[in-house]
């Protein structure tokens, strides 16, 4: 077993355990902090996949912005958060069955696919960050979707400010 595989298994364990904690823990602040652990694990997975830029972006945007925003929201709505009645629906068992079924059918479907156990080709000295920048800013590549995404983000933020503002 190589070092890369050990790193992968450790971070996969961290991701899955903390993801289960996110969906089961009662205290919402703890759930948000477990989400941070999950996001760190995903950043490590990105680094294992040799997408270093995405690993950094994952830490900066997901953990630095999105998870912190969750913690703010939890604290702004905290009156009913803790230990008051069950945190799950009455039909949570049904949700569990659906989750297990989806996972099982995904595994079944993927295991019949030829490329399931394919190994990665060597990256060599390809500058993937340069390729990514070119792909994002070339009109013949992904310039238009990139700009549409930024307009979407701007519109969503303006809408969020409008929805959350207290107009009284």
């Amino acid at each position: 077993m190589t070092a890369l595989q050990i790193i992968f298994l450790i971070s996969a364990g961290v991701i899955l355990v903390s993801a289960v904690m996110v969906v089961t823990t009662r205290n919402m602040v703890h759930a948000a902090l477990w989400l941070v652990a999950t996001l760190f694990g995903v950043a490590v997975i990105f680094a294992v996949l040799e997408a270093g830029f995405l690993a950094v972006v994952q830490v900066v945007i997901y953990i630095g912005a999105i998870a912190i925003m969750f913690i703010f929201a939890v604290m702004l709505t905290s009156r009913e958060m803790r230990d008051k009645g069950p945190q799950m629906n009455q039909r949570a068992w049904l949700a569990g069955i659906v989750g297990v079924l989806i996972f099982g059918s995904l595994v079944l479907l993927l295991s019949t696919w030829d490329g399931f156990n394919v190994l990665p080709s060597a990256i060599g000295d390809t500058d993937t960050l340069k390729l990514l920048g070119n792909a994002l800013l070339q009109p013949s590549a992904y310039l238009l979707p990139f700009e549409v995404a930024s307009v979407l983000l701007l519109a969503a933020l303006v809408g969020a400010v409008y929805v959350a503002s207290n107009r009284n």
Binding site: L49, Y62, I66, Q87, V118, L152, A160
Partner: protein, 102 residues
């Protein structure tokens, strides 16, 4: 060398956990947290397919970046709605917000 299957199984498991959270949790903020888990599993898939496919074709990473932007937009709007609902109904339990239920 890690085979592609490990990443796909990890992301399938993470997606299923997120799906369970979306369907089972009562708290609206917890539902948004679970949606984040599902988006992250999608990102793992996209980047893994980029790495195991043609390296020079950057679609996987570009789509992962677009997923980042959409996730940020989704969280901003979702949390604004939750805060607005909390201000009006004094609850964030999804079952009790049934103003539009017929």
């Amino acid at each position: 060398m890690i085979p592609l299957s490990w990443f796909l199984l990890l992301s399938a498991a993470l997606f299923s956990i997120g799906l369970f959270g979306v369907m089972a949790r009562k708290n609206a903020v917890a539902i948004l947290l679970s949606v984040e888990l599902m988006l992250n599993s999608v990102n793992i898939n996209l980047v893994a397919f980029w790495r195991y496919g043609n390296i020079a074709q950057m679609s996987g990473q570009v789509f992962a970046i677009i997923v980042f932007a959409v996730a940020a937009a989704e969280v901003a709007v979702g949390l604004a709605l939750v805060i607005s609902v909390y201000r009006r109904f004094n609850t964030v339990v999804a079952d009790e917000i049934d103003l539009m239920k017929w």
